[in-house]
Amino acid sequence: MFAFIIRRVIQAILVMLVISLVGFSIKSNIGDPVRDLVGERVTPEERAQMAEKLGLNDPFFVQYTRFLKNALHGDLGTSFIYRKPALEVIFRHAPATIELVLGAALIIALFSFPLGVYSALYPRSLLSRFTMGFSTLGVSIPVFLTAIMFIYLFAVTLHILPSYGRGETIDLFGNGYWQTGLLTIDGLKHLLLPCVSLASIMMPLFIRLIRSEMMEVLETEYIKYAWAKGLSTRRIWLVHAFKNTLLPVVTVFGVQIGIMFAFTILTETVFQWQGMGFMFLDAIQRADISLLIAYLVVVASVFVVVNTVVDIMYSFINPTVRIAGTK
């Protein structure tokens, strides 16, 4: 068991190294960060001096080993545009994204379960047909279009919801890191449209997944047996069928929430939502390469850690994995 964990940790470190290396090798293609820091009148010589001072002219491996050395001390570089440690910048932007994703996840859960189950139970009903049709539409419309349509409908035409930003936020811990919009009415109003937009890409997928899983379960032997036993309809649907539908759905849900972080880039750009996705795009456009690499490493480490923990836990639950790992 111990050997297995060690092996996984070593693999995780390797993955992180590869990702930081990839980040480093693409950085020269993104553009010159010095350009964004100076006016158009600054001469090429002075720009070259600045680049030299920032260490941008050093050979690839000098830069990379310097980065690794600092990374070991928990320093992933300094963001050029924010003039702060890149990690701090990322952590300050993370809460906005986390709140957005949580809100979207909540909406997905609230709607996709009842709708999915219903359309599995009554596949011919009008609501089911409508849900299925709508979910096909939902899958095929890109999120920025949905978002812009929402803005024009609810903000511009009806004037009932705000069009951009996070609204009034409260400093959760008093240190400026976690600005939350969850505790004010204004903040919640601002959260609504971005969350629904973000949810709109995943919701159809889940409705369809739940529907098909549920339909499959309803065809199984033990459900037929339960009918034969004369159990109440409600008990069969909710306890026997639904519970077994849940298992795979929850697994997928967990994975998809992670992936949803990636989708926030578009949503955050349209709504001027100051989260990590927005920051990432800004960093690309302004060639803030240290922030970019730090972001890649942070995101990669989140995925690596989650996957490693899952694998380790899995090895406890299912010993065959462990055996396969030790051979």
């Binding site: 006016g39 924010y82 003039r83 812009i148």
Partner: protein
């Protein structure tokens, strides 16, 4: 019950009335926000805008291109090298310190060390203090644009920025990529005081109670600046009423804002010339003035203005926009396909040739679309164009490397004067002097000679003649392809009287904004 309702209604009315009669708040959505609070750390539009809100210059531009006294009440030319400024008395900084001549000198000396500004300050020897409220600005040679440059002389509070901060760093440090005192703290004399500043998220400013300009009709008490990057979102924020004023309205939304009963669209010529440069060092044909002329004749810039820019900008024939000293009204737009073909034939390129073209896709208004249209137009005279467009972060590197045969560049004069265009865009490139830094290959010694001579000509009429001659040479030479002068487009709610406070430099003077 009825009485209670009535009472509540009255209370509600009273509250809502006091709310509207009280402090006026201005919410602005700009495409970009200031990158720092230090007015000298970066020479960019956003930073100069902030400088006009939080600091004050000696003089500033008015909408019709005149100078308006700010911290300097009046000025006089002592001799060819020296102009004396008489400073305003009783001006306070946000810190409470009193503004005097030493602040002007201190700020100038600090600016002279700033990487971004020192190029502009090349013609200056420095500032001499005559007494507490009189300074002399001295130049190295007779310099016609001294007042134009005085619009950059913002006063920083020398006492406030002296000493060391809590990290032991000097407070006057001017650095771009690390934390400095001046990047996060300010003390200017300006109409607004920074209350909170969160880069990229929100800047909140309050009107400075001790502001010297009591004549200003402006009534904004609280000024909230929100960056909103996406064009569609910015327009939506205005239409939905979430913000009161926005900048950089995209041309496709002009109609929408004009037709909306609650909003106004205000545009002003921004004087930024959009051009394509032809690189004669890369393509032999472009060394031939006839071929360059053929390109200019082939490109229907009036059509581009009409279709792509929705007819809201002026078709350009030269660098200088109308109103500049060098603007020559007799130069007419050229678009004549037959003539273009004839010129190509005459130069021996009847069959055309193949070139590469590059343009940014997020730097100028509709930049990529203009480039695409141009490529198609050139195809008609047999020039096959391989076009590549890219974000500005990558484009500037390519531009520096002169990586394509035709490259797009837009330019706004730093001094609101014609000479600046020539210095950067068409003078022969000279690494030592920095002239022609944004020139992709055109070179005409006559233009260089005239541009240099105009710099130290103080007789303004003579000077204007020289600048006009330059425009004529460039026109005949077809030194570049002119398109139009980009404008500044603002959208505002009807009761926000934005029109009087905007100007061609794109420094909206929100301190003077009147909210009805």
């Amino acid at each position: 019950m009825k009485k209670l309702v009535l009472l509540l209604l009255c209370l509600f009315m009273a509250f809502s009335f006091t709310a509207t009669a009280g402090a006026k708040t201005l919410k602005v959505g700009l495409a970009a926000d200031p990158v720092s609070l230090d007015p000298q750390v970066q020479l960019s539009g956003g930073m100069l805008q902030l400088s006009h809100w939080v600091f004050d210059p000696l003089v500033r531009w008015t909408q019709d291109g005149d100078f308006e006294p700010r911290l300097a009440e009046k000025w006089e030319r002592i001799n060819e090298y020296r102009v004396r400024f008489y400073l305003r008395k009783g001006v306070k900084f946000h810190s409470g310190n009193t503004f005097t001549a030493k602040d002007v000198k201190w700020s100038f000396d600090r600016m002279k060390k700033s990487v971004d500004f020192k190029g502009l300050l090349e013609p200056f020897v420095g500032i001499g203090i005559i007494d507490d409220y009189t300074v002399d600005v001295v130049t190295t040679k007779p310099y016609a644009l001294l007042l134009n440059m005085a619009t950059y002389f913002f006063a920083m509070d020398s006492e406030f920025y002296t000493g060391t901060d809590e990290n032991g760093q000097p407070k006057d440090a001017c650095k771009k990529t690390t934390h400095t005192f001046a990047n996060d703290n300010e003390s200017g004399t300006g109409v607004f005081k920074i209350k909170s500043y969160e880069q990229g998220v929100k800047t909140v400013m309050k009107r400075f109670a001790d502001y010297w300009d009591k004549d200003s009709k402006g009534n904004v008490d609280k000024f909230i600046l929100n960056p909103i990057k996406a064009n569609a979102t910015r327009v939506a924020a205005l239409l939905s009423g979430d913000v009161d004023v926005i900048d950089q309205v995209p041309p496709q939304d002009y109609k929408r804002l004009r037709s909306d009963s609650k909003t106004d669209l205000v545009t002003i010529n921004g004087g930024r010339i959009i051009t394509f440069q032809m690189n004669g060092n890369r393509v032999k044909a472009f060394k031939d003035a006839r071929v360059r002329n053929a390109v200019v004749y082939a490109i229907n810039n009036a059509g581009i203005v009409k279709k792509i820019m929705k007819g809201t900008v002026e078709v350009a024939t030269q660098q200088s926009p109308p109103g500049y000293a060098g603007y020559k009204a007799s130069l007419k737009p050229r678009y004549d396909l037959e003539k273009a073909k004839a010129l190509m034939k005459e130069a021996g390129y009847a069959d055309g040739f193949e070139i590469t073209m590059m343009a940014p896709n997020n730097r100028y208004v509709n930049d990529a679309k203009i480039a695409e249209a141009s490529a198609q137009m050139l195809a008609k005279i047999g020039i096959k164009v391989n076009l590549k467009t890219m974000p500005k972060a990558q484009y500037w590197d390519e531009f520096d490397a002169k990586a394509a045969d035709m490259m797009m560049i837009g330019w706004h004069s730093d001094t609101e004067d014609s000479g600046n265009f020539s210095e950067f865009l068409v003078m022969c490139y000279d690494k030592a002097t920095g002239f022609g830094q944004y020139n992709s290959g055109y070179c005409n010694p006559k233009v260089d000679e005239l541009t240099i001579a105009a710099q130290s000509e103080i007789d303004l009429d003579k000077r204007a003649d020289m600048l006009k001659e330059i425009e004529q040479i460039l026109y005949d030479d077809a030194a570049f392809v002119p398109y139009h002068w980009q404008n500044h487009a603002y959208g505002a709610k009807k009761n926000f009287k934005i029109k009087p406070i905007i100007n061609s430099m794109n420094f909206p003077y929100f301190g003077d904004l009147v909210i009805k």
